[in-house]
Symmetry: C2
Subunit: 145 residues, 2 copies
DNA sequence: TTTAATTTGGATAAATTAGTCCAATTATAT
DNA sequence: ATATAATTGGACTAATTTATCCAAATTAAA
């Protein structure tokens, strides 16, 4: 698995919240965990982390729930999400686990892994939450399991 | 981290054993764990798994140790190693953790992740242990941490 | 033949990740 | 006002991964 469960759930959750936010709606924990098929209590914890990082916003009390502010939605990418729940996610580390590995002191797999690593990093940095939510809205992609 | 610690250590260990095997030498646990900078007892467990999968060979008693048979060395790739210590490693799974995700029912990231996933799989399937060991022998790449 | 260096195997421990449960707080809607 | 539906926070549990320790078995060398 490339991403942790925490990251997987968080990405699914934020994409779903983003979709709702696009329509000016907020959504509560229960519906989120039903829609993305994630354990409710665990998802709650993740939403708290996402909130602490300023990624989602929550409103308290009856008919409370979660949403993502318009401006945020424009800027958020997958790195932000992964970092919020897993701490610094770094896909630039050596695939063999060598700390010293670099272009100058390469591990035996360095050259072959280089591009993949770069592409993975790019994917996380360049994939915008907004883009994913809009895709979802078109009905061409899915969040169902 | 892309690979588990178990896989990282195992790859480093087998590459080192392969290097020695190329020169007709076997090498013992202690030296392996020193050279690849891995915890000795844990590495021992991994070597047992690799042995059970027929990847490495061991000789018992004083001046015992590990090596890899010539023929094996020709055929082994990274998949074999990762599978031996981590069970079936599958990098074809959905990055968002959706079981239903496929070309027909894609998750929002499916198209962007598709190539990366393919490249990762290719890397593991096509990278031969022998190639890595030979590279190491040239002194252009390193196993040091 | 004894000693010493090694693998083997089993039990156990520590750390991390994944997940649950419940009480307290908050605020809307009846 | 009050009941109700929601987030919040803390303690707890479970599962998996990453290790450690030690005794037994094996075999080469002294």
């Amino acid at each position: 698995m490339i991403l942790s469960k925490a990251s997987e759930y968080s990405i699914r959750a934020t994409v779903f919240i983003a979709l709702k936010s696009l329509e000016g709606e907020k959504v509560n924990l229960k519906e989120i965990s039903i829609q993305i098929e994630s354990p409710e209590a665990f998802t709650s914890k993740l939403l708290q982390l996402l909130k602490k990082s300023g990624i989602v916003r929550s409103s308290l009390g009856k008919s409370g729930g979660f949403d993502i502010e318009k401006e945020k939605l424009e800027s958020l990418n997958l790195c932000h999400i992964v970092n919020a729940v897993d701490g610094k996610a770094d896909y630039s580390v050596c695939i063999m686990g060598l700390k010293a590995c670099s272009d100058n002191v390469p591990c035996p797999m360095h050259s072959q892994y280089r591009n993949i690593k770069q592409n993975l990093n790019d994917l996380l940095h360049n994939t915008k939450l907004l883009t994913l939510a809009k895709k979802l809205r078109t009905g061409q992609v899915f969040l169902t399991n």
